[in-house]
Homo-oligomer: 172 residues x 2
DNA sequence: CACAATTAAATTGTGCACAACTAAATGACG
DNA sequence: CGTCATTTAGTTGTGCACAATTTAATTGTG
């Protein structure tokens, strides 16, 4: 579980034999699983930390966007978070039911629904200020290391997005 | 979007003012969001690549485990993937309905359900061999870089797990 | 102005993650 | 042997992600 053998013999050439492909399959399991596991481990930690704010992790992300940008149409919130209305509509309804946000149709454009903070939602920010520090501490990483990891992940994300668009151009 | 200002002035001391905490909140958004986004971008890519195998991403992970280890009780599958029966039971039923795995109660221990591959499930491995290469290519990362990222993520995961256990010791 | 194309939310349906709980089998111990 | 704690799957309920579809408003064009 330390420093994988790394089947570099098969790194550059086409799939010829069978053994290198096996290694790739095992490696693939490790990579995709590592990311998946890290994401879920983060989720578990946030679940604990956010419990007394009464927020789930995706709800917290939405609140972060609103705290930073003020009121926004659902569309814009979705652009910030890479989420569509299929995910956001029910989530925002739950935040509204919790009294943290209000949602109202824009007068200028009746298609658009503008999401804003209630007083309670704005006040919650004060209690949220201590969240990042607890999370950062739990990672055991320093700021530099965190920023480095973030940069790699962001690069990975945009590369993956680009690759997905090549295979599947009919996507927004 | 390049090299964040990094509010290192507030890195070591307690939250005194307001501005540094604001920065932390913004930073937190970036970190957790980056991981979340990368995980979902990976998911989208796998969704496309796995489409003609008829597998979802979590189902693919289960198949990887079975291809590598042969038949296993549900419990063991869950240990490999960090998933409990609440997630695995319905997932395995879908794989069984698809004709890829069979599930049968162990004779030795009637509590345990052993999951094994059908001929069709074993045969699917052949078509899956080309998946890792497509994924690796899409990341735009070399093997070294992938392994490095994986190592960081694994370290992050175990640190996060340990931190969660400190806050919440009643967890397996 | 009329009408087609586009856009924004919402809805529907499928599948995953996870907490909480249930049911059944096993194992330990008096 | 009987009883109780533990273990293993499964079930239920909540919430998120995402594809596909629907509805309504807006924009563009003739």
């Amino acid at each position: 579980m330390t420093t994988t053998p790394a089947p570099e013999s098969a790194a550059g050439d086409a799939v010829s034999g069978s053994a290198p492909a096996d290694d790739f399959l095992r490696l693939d399991q490790q990579i995709c699983f590592s990311l998946n596991a890290a994401s879920r481990a983060f989720g578990s930690l946030y679940r604990v930390v956010l419990k007394d704010l009464g927020l789930t992790y995706p709800q917290y992300l939405v609140m972060l966007v609103l705290w930073e940008h003020g009121e926004l149409p659902v569309k814009k919130v979705g652009e910030h978070l890479r989420l569509d209305s299929g995910t956001l509509s029910p989530l925002l309804k739950r935040l509204e039911a919790a009294g943290l946000v209000r949602r109202e149709r824009s007068a200028r454009d009746e298609r658009s629904v503008v999401v804003g903070l209630t007083d309670e939602g704005a006040a919650l920010r004060g209690r949220a200020l201590r969240v990042p520090r607890r999370i950062a501490a739990a990672t055991g990483f320093g700021l530099t290391e965190i920023n480095d990891l973030r940069a790699r992940l962001d690069r990975l994300t945009s590369t993956l997005d680009a690759a997905a668009l090549e295979d599947f151009p009919d996507r927004g």
